[in-house]
Symmetry: C2
Subunit: 229 residues, 2 copies
Amino acid sequence: METVGTAVDALPRPGLRERKKQRTRNALVRAALELIATRGYEGTTVDDIAAAADVSQRTFFRYFASKEEVAFFVSRLAEAHVLEAVRERPPGEAPLEVLRRAVLDSWDGINEAVERLVPLELHLRVYRMIESTPALLAAHLRRAAELEKELARLVAEREGLDVDGDPRPRILVAAFGGVIRVAERRWSTGGDVSVAAMRELLTTCLDHVGPALAENWRTNGSPVRRTET
Amino acid sequence: METVGTAVDALPRPGLRERKKQRTRNALVRAALELIATRGYEGTTVDDIAAAADVSQRTFFRYFASKEEVAFFVSRLAEAHVLEAVRERPPGEAPLEVLRRAVLDSWDGINEAVERLVPLELHLRVYRMIESTPALLAAHLRRAAELEKELARLVAEREGLDVDGDPRPRILVAAFGGVIRVAERRWSTGGDVSVAAMRELLTTCLDHVGPALAENWRTNGSPVRRTET
DNA sequence: TGGCAAGTGTCAGTGGCTGTCATTAGCCTC
DNA sequence: GAGGCTAATGACAGCCACTGACACTTGCCA
């Protein structure tokens, strides 16, 4: 078998078998997200999902290692985009700027890719479930931790540091990750769920990473609009 | 002093029933940690733990909501100590200093409390399992996230900020949490597992939180160790 | 001492997940 | 285009985490 999960080069025609698999996978994802969004994670059994996609439960587990995994299908897509964007940043750029630009620049592409799979509004509903379901939240954080680990590795590599010897890359990435999570949370709980709103949130929050570590906040002017370090 | 689990006034003496419960809970914890440390988390069934503690499986679940929970019994102890230490920091102290001092000052007390329950060496072995078992790692991160949420709340309160309106407390705490996790990881993988070594690690890592967010690391003299890959 | 409630064991059942095996269905060769 | 190969699937049995229900034991206290 040449390409396993994600499409790489579509030059050799997929073939019927491959297309069928893709269709089954998509059906499972869509069925799962729809069910989870409406009935909740715990309220949705794997049998439900399999039945909705018209396959056996056993087949579901041949496509996804766990019920969790299918819930994070969209998130995984986004992560892949961000990682790639980071890898393509020009050398010499400051670490925080690299992360910031990578996220902001890949944002539109991410949403496009997601929309091609499921309605963005559905993803939002699922995301709210993730945040409010302990088991999913835990998995989400573990995924985030893995992503941060890789980001720290990349940052350290760019800066010529040893990621295991110097704590600064990890700390920087941890702070960055905290910002992302704050933004995500606001997006999912806020009223405006548009893509533009999320971009706006991201930008605003990212602008605070630097100043947040400065001390004596109280002597600052406005809490949100602080300029320069 | 003698109440280990739930810290309330122990003035009215425990009573036989209560003491029996305490003994059962401790037996379960000890059996669980011992088994998990030796056979791994997935390699240990709840029936094993219950049998080792000489109770039924059903009784295990009356003491712990899940198999996970018993694995984090010690961690929960530590978290409670840190939170209390933070609450007792004098007002006016800078946020980062509050967190730093809270951790370092409560460190000895934590280890004393842990040692009263299980050998510290056993806890270390369990901690290594937590870090290397995906399911446990996820739970660990979720717990850490909850702790950070509370810490951010406390920091915001101290500084007179709105934790939902101002991202800085969360970002600061996220960076701090990142440091703690780096230190934990080094402690559990390093050679020196002593309490003093962990304190040393914590101190060193915490000293880097501030500088880590400064840019152009390359022009800095390196705070830890300059390595070339 | 007898009644009460807390603590426990047993049993049955649900749901996530896996191994096994027989069957179906693309694919490829001749 | 028939037949063999193998990937994909379904059906079934089984393990384990976890839960509800009910009966039984036991500390507690009037």
